[in-house]
Amino acid sequence: MIQFLDFEAPVAELEGKIAELRAIAQADTKVSIADDVKSLEKKSGKILSDLYLNLTPWQKAQVARHQQRPHALDYISALITDFVALAGDRTFAEDEAVVGGLGRFNGQAVVVIGQEKGSDTEGRLKHNFGMAKPEGYRKAVRLMEMGDKFGLPVISFVDTSGAYPGVEAEERGQAEAIARSTDCCLSLGVPLVAVIIGEGGSGGAIAIATANTVLMMEHAIYSVISPEGAASILYRDPARNKDAAIALKITAQDLKKFGVIDEIIVEPLGGAHRKPIAVMDATREVLARVLASYSGLSAEVLRTQRREKFLGIGRAL
């Protein structure tokens, strides 16, 4: 059962009617509903398509945070075979906000890292809503260094509202852990490809998104601060998150123009959560092409390409 967002109310109403009709038809096989259903489906599809072609930045934020949206573990289970989950930062703890390990992508051995938000209450608590602590970033560094050592490309799935803001995270050096993780991304002699699948929340995201190629889902967002956070600081009114979302330029389409991301992965009509299989297929295709483009490049070429790419951001605007 799809959960509808507030702006999808007209679609929800139509789909409700369709469900009703189907229920009637099931109860009484003599009733023919085919034509009605078809017309309603057409209408609903049209509304959905109009909505999704013109999503406002705030609506995109809602889609990006949709609880049924595919999360990192969904991507890993769909795209990675032979997956071996690895755990721990070897210093303090295992942080399940960051998942990852070894596996195969289209047969090629890779290291995969993802920020996992969790899909139900239990999962969300277990993964701390995708908000990593220092040990999560140190685990990411450990995995990236393993990829570097064994010549395995690294794929990261970015999906976090931000690094965890808490006392113990600060005590263990949240800032240092993020800085070291970004530093590690920039040192890798293997290809690093990041996919922003939902929310790219500031420093918490850049720590694993300083990649040779940064891909972004069509309705994902990526920002230096959440629209809510910016609204409370800039307008002193958290309710103005819609304005802040516009001002901050957080959509994949805007970020592509700024050269901050390299390619947008198209989502099915109505968002990734409506047709996860189509999303996985599209992601697989783009990832395969991008990884192939780095095959055979030397460590130095890969490092230089990554550095020049980031140094160039903002220079040609």
Partner: protein, 300 residues
């Protein structure tokens, strides 16, 4: 002391409330020690490197004074600020960002929050970067990022140590994602210093928070901090809202960070030049300088 109350207080408020910027301060200005409440003559405070004589509270120090307190004889070459695109987001909240920038430039007389200078520190060539809270909260945007990168690269070209005095409220929201991009961009320049095996000394001053902390501020060979500076990634209000309990005593202060292994030493401003110089000379394998005084960290 009625005359102080009626006559001087409003001005004090304006000075304390506004950012410390380059402007004419009346010589009869008094300023209140936030720790002890004692009134101190502004000129005396300035002469004491903006450290309150009684409580030793480290007040915000203007960038110009930071340079003159570090470089021999107060002499140095100012490094030109690289030019960057202005307001690519065409950002507008309550104020247009371009207006905010223009006002900040006019008020401070500088281009952006980071300035850099090249000169001698105890006869050793050094590049020093200073981030000034007075310029839109010391926030990190494209101009500051490029100024840091250029300064670090200048140190590489001179084969000399680089010292960064950090103070910032975080990323500059008005530049959106382009401000976030300064985290990896400045990290690249830190890596260039590292590859050249040049000392990179970070001095954390009050406050150092947000994205700035999560990049060049935490990647130094040595991390010094001024006493009682607030240093942290997440804001205290945000943390309080998340955990819904009171924060521990001294949370996110320099001394607390040292206790938790993030800072090497807490250094009084009066000892800063000697300390930086001693570390830079050791890391550059230069002989000790006869004149350097005893090195006593304040927390000792």
């Amino acid at each position: 002391m009625n005359w102080i109350k009626n006559f001087v207080r409003p001005r004090i408020r304006s000075i304390l409330g506004a950012a410390t910027t380059k402007r004419d301060v009346p010589e009869n200005m008094w300023i209140k020690d936030p720790d002890s409440g004692e009134m101190v003559f502004y000129k005396d405070l300035e002469a004491n490197q903006f450290v309150f004589p009684g409580s030793q509270h480290h007040h915000r120090m203007p960038a110009a004074l930071r340079f003159s307190s570090m470089f021999d004889g107060g002499e140095f070459d100012k490094l030109a600020a690289p030019s960057v695109p202005l307001d690519p987001l065409r950002f507008r909240a309550e104020k247009k960002y371009t207006d905010q920038l223009r006002d900040a430039k006019a008020k401070s007389g500088v281009e952006d929050s980071v300035q850099a200078g090249f000169g001698q520190v105890n006869e050793q060539p050094m590049v020093i970067g200073v981030q000034d809270m007075g310029f839109i909260g010391g926030s990190l945007g494209m101009a500051a990022g490029d100024a840091i990168i250029a300064a670090m690269r200048f140190a590489v070209s001179k084969q000399c140590p680089f010292v960064m005095f950090v103070a910032s409220g975080g990323a500059r929201m008005q530049e959106g994602i382009l401000s976030l991009m300064q985290l990896p961009r400045t990290t690249i320049a830190v890596q260039e210093l590292r590859a050249a095996k040049l000392p990179y000394i970070v001095v954390l001053t009050n406050p150092t928070t947000g994205g700035v902390t999560a990049s060049y501020a935490m990647l130094g060979d040595v991390h010094l901090a001024e006493p009682k500076a607030i240093i942290g990634f997440a804001g205290q209000r945000v943390i309080e809202q998340t955990i819904r309990e009171k924060l521990p005593e001294g949370f996110q202060r320099s001394e607390y960070l040292m206790d938790h292994g993030m800072v090497d030493m807490v250094v009084h401003r009066h000892e800063m030049k000697t300390t930086v110089s001693r570390i830079a000379r050791l890391l550059s394998q230069k002989d000790a300088r006869a004149m350097t005084g005893a090195l006593v960290p304040v927390s000792a």
